[in-house]
């Protein structure tokens, strides 16, 4: 038995026996009071502290177990990390580890160019690959997830039916373990999995549809009618155009722009982005209540009608033969990374949505009623009431999700294992593999990596807090 083990045993004995003796000598218990005796025994150190030092000693006794565990298993390792990072060898016994100074750090930073991990030493290559992948991941995943969580919270916060049901459904993935999540998505994303099969069937159906004679005409007429109705609706609602209908109109406009592909006349690609930008601009104009909103919608409607006539739907919807994608394995496609972001959002979004929802529900209803009396437009109510008041909660969510996604390991390890190649190799996996899966575990190297990661996380967090502090001062 180790030293610590015997120490613990001694402590338990002192607690149990000493407590029993002390309690039985100072208090009387009846036979029916055994549970009460058990509770008194559990709290024996606290009782003793009160007897010895009065009420002033009690809080320290109450804090002791918690702080002991924090001290031993959080603060001590934090400091020990620095020490370990200055030692070499693969021994587990601290005193047998030779002091190597800064060499573990030097190994990591032995690069010709820090931006190109390939020019680094082996350790540096792994570290910087992991770091850049992680930074990419955080940079993409955190904004997306926070945006999705906020949107979902806003929608669930509306006066809708079955709010509890929706809320529970979005929260459900949070309850699932990473292993289960990985198995589920591995199965769905398998080359012969249901996603590929579904996409295959969909393209098949679209191809068949596009092959029908008269498809072009039917599609054009159908879309023309939809366009007319939506435009009319958007312009009809009162003096100012309706935001919701405009949003629908903008969506159709974006699709039409993508299909008509006007940029191909200039030999440029990216018509979809142009369409999305046009749509977003339109929605903004209307939501902000700009004077030229009506005219903008009419111009856009004319534009849309023109484009509609130019589209040959049979070619747009002819997708060709679908090739099943090996989502998690094919290198240089970006798909493994995409699915990682997707699955991570899928499994964590519900938690942040709940926190944001609580923040939204804390906003007093009468503020919105007052805004309604002042004829405030919905978007303005959102930017001037909702957003500022939910900002503190949003900050908490951003900081929490930042720290969380920096530490991503389980999902990557189980879904892609860092592959293909090193495309999804994250920093925690680097630390884990260096320390625990190598035949020659290099704890020093892993500790050095941990220290650097801690520094980066700290910088991020404080930058974030500083930014929001400044914002709230402005």
């Amino acid at each position: 038995m180790s030293l610590a083990g015997s120490l613990m045993l001694g402590l338990l004995l002192a607690w149990g026996l000493g407590g029993t003796v002390w309690l039985l000598t100072t208090r009387r218990y009846r036979v029916t009071q055994v549970p009460r005796f058990a509770m008194d025994l559990l709290g024996f150190p606290v009782e003793l502290a009160q007897r010895l030092f009065g009420r002033g000693g009690v809080p320290y006794a109450l804090l002791l177990p918690n702080m002991l565990i924090f001290g031993l298993f959080t603060f001590a390792p934090m400091i020990l990390n620095f020490y370990v990072s200055f030692t070499g060898g693969s021994s587990i016994i601290l005193f047998e580890r030779p002091w190597v100074g800064l060499s573990k750090y030097v190994d990591i930073f032995a690069c010709e160019s820090y931006l190109v991990p390939k020019t680094c030493s082996n350790a540096g290559y792994n570290f910087f690959t992991g770091l850049y992948n992680t930074l990419w991941f955080v940079g993409i995943q955190v904004p997306i997830m926070c945006a999705v969580a906020l949107i979902t919270a806003l929608v669930v916060n509306r006066d809708i039916k079955g709010r509890g049901f929706w809320r529970a459904m979005f929260f459900y993935p949070v309850m699932l373990s990473p292993v289960v999540i990985a198995n589920i998505w591995n199965w769905v994303l398998h080359r012969k999995g249901v996603l590929n099969a579904g996409l295959d069937e969909m393209t098949g159906a679209l191809n068949a549809l596009a092959g029908l004679s008269g498809f072009d005409m039917v599609m054009t007429v159908l879309l023309a009618i939809v366009l007319m109705v939506v435009t009319e609706r958007a312009l009809r609602a009162g003096a100012e155009p309706s935001t919701a209908w405009t949003a629908l109109f903008a969506l159709i406009l974006a699709l039409l722009t993508a299909w008509a592909n006007p940029l191909s006349l200039l030999d440029l690609s990216g018509s979809l982005w142009l369409g999305l930008a046009l749509g977003a601009g339109l929605v903004w104009l209307v939501a902000a209540g700009h004077r030229s909103a009506r005219i903008a919608i009419m111009v856009a409607a004319a534009l849309a009608a023109l484009m509609l006539l130019s589209i040959q739907f049979s070619t747009v919807f002819d997708m060709g033969r679908y090739r099943p994608n090996n989502w998690l394995v094919t290198p240089n496609t970006g798909w493994p990374f995409f699915w990682l972001v997707f699955v991570f959002c899928w499994s964590h979004m519900g938690f942040y949505m709940l926190i944001l929802l609580a923040g939204l529900q804390a906003i007093p209803r009468d503020l919105y009623e007052a805004a309604k009396m002042d004829a405030t437009r919905p978007l303005r109510a959102f930017t001037r009431i909702t957003l500022p008041l939910v900002m503190p909660t949003l900050t908490v969510v951003i900081v929490l999700s930042l720290i969380r996604s920096f530490q991503i390991f389980d999902e990557v390890y189980l879904l892609t294992g860092g592959g293909p190649g090193r495309e999804t190799y994250m920093i925690v996996q680097n630390i884990y593999e260096v320390a625990f899966t190598n035949s020659q575990p290099d704890y020093g190297q892993a500790a050095a990596g941990s220290v650097l990661m801690a520094v980066i996380i700290a910088v991020f967090t404080f930058f974030q807090l500083w930014l929001t502090r400044r914002q709230s001062e402005l």
Partner: protein, 360 residues
């Protein structure tokens, strides 16, 4: 008397929270069986003093003796006192019976004894049919009774009440006031009662202790305080509506008020022209509607309560005067009426706000 220990004795009690001094040296003796009320405006230290007696806070200096034994270091639970809190502090997750017996269980009392005491107290307070309910299911008055019951079962040396009626509505407050007085008569225990309401103090107390700013301003039987206030603060605090104060000067034994009135007053020590104020209770002023009297005032406002009429009037120099008449009087705003003063009802307060002694 002297060989019997006091139920409670405080000697030069001081209390400071950090740099803020709350109690500035209080000496007080309370006898066995007395009903003592601490009264004063909010922030006067009356609740702090009660908590020091209870043992919930420790005094910064000074001694607390219970029945002749110094208890400064004795924890609250072992002083043998019990307390009724302003919010009642009933344990919301326990039934009424568990609330009453919790303290006795902590003392390891035999089960039979606990049951007996709880049932007795419940019967006394007429809450015996509520014993299985939770505090949340009780009305305000019932909660109040349970809180008192919890104090009774401990059979304490002294009952401590911390503004126990302030959460009740007016009608219930009146009723509970009477009940607590009856309880005192029945049990005969020493009780210390803290309130900011001078009516409660006047109606319930054997002895009132008026506190201000952490000091005792005056203590004594209720009517003594009413009739012979030691200073202007006590005079203004005790009695409703408040005593009228009129500014003036004392030259020899002649009181010259700013409103014009001049009177010979039987002060023990003649004045030298110093500024004094005359205190006179609203009910000690006579009224004549025909404008005859010592002074003429203008009616600013009045309240007819049926049996009583309050008149709010002003002198020509702007000083205001409240008059209480035990009759229904036909009045109009702006009406000029005569008022009469009686020298024997005068309270004269010197420049230091202390009451001037009168010749006997």
């Amino acid at each position: 008397m002297t060989d019997l220990p006091h139920a409670l004795e405080l000697r030069d009690i001081r209390k400071a929270f950090g740099a803020v001094k709350v109690i500035h040296g209080i000496d007080l003796e309370i006898e066995e069986g007395e009903f003592v009320v601490f009264v004063g405006p909010s922030g006067c230290g009356k609740s702090t003093l009660l908590r020091l007696i209870a043992g919930l806070d420790d005094p910064t200096s000074g001694d607390i003796e219970l029945q002749g034994k110094r208890v400064n270091t004795v924890p609250a639970s072992e002083r043998g006192l019990s307390m009724v809190f302003q919010s009642y502090a009933l344990y919301p997750h326990m039934s009424v019976r568990a609330n009453l017996s919790f303290g006795l269980e902590n003392l390891n009392m035999p089960r039979a004894e606990i049951t007996r005491r709880v049932d007795d107290a419940a019967k006394l307070l007429q809450i015996d049919q509520l014993l299985d309910r939770r505090p949340g299911q009780l009305s305000g008055g019932q909660r109040q009774r349970v809180a008192i019951g919890r104090a009774i079962v401990r059979e304490p040396i002294i009952f401590l009440f911390d503004e126990p009626l302030s959460n009740l509505d007016a009608e219930l407050r009146l009723q509970m006031r009477v009940e607590i007085s009856n309880l005192h008569a029945q049990l005969g225990n020493t009780m210390i009662y803290v309130t900011h309401d001078q009516v409660e103090a006047m109606t319930m107390a054997d002895r009132i202790v008026v506190l201000r700013g952490g000091r005792i301003e005056q203590q004594g039987r209720p009517l003594d305080l009413y009739n012979h206030p030691a200073n202007r603060f006590v005079a203004g605090f005790i009695g409703a509506p408040q005593m009228n104060f009129l500014a003036g000067r004392l030259e020899g034994r002649t009181l010259r008020l700013d409103c014009g009135l001049t009177r010979e007053v039987p002060v023990a020590v003649p004045g030298k022209g110093e500024a004094v104020s005359l205190g006179i209770r609203p009910e000690a002023i006579g009224v004549s509607l025909d404008g005859q009297g010592d002074e003429v005032v203008t009616v600013r406002n009045y309240e007819q309560l049926g049996a009583i009429t309050y008149i709010y009037a002003a002198f020509a120099n702007g000083e205001t005067l409240t008059v209480q008449q035990a009759a229904q009087i036909p009045l109009e705003r702006g009406q000029r009426i005569g008022v009469r003063f009686h020298t024997e009802t005068f309270h004269i307060f010197g420049p230091d706000e202390r009451a001037l002694e009168m010749q006997s």
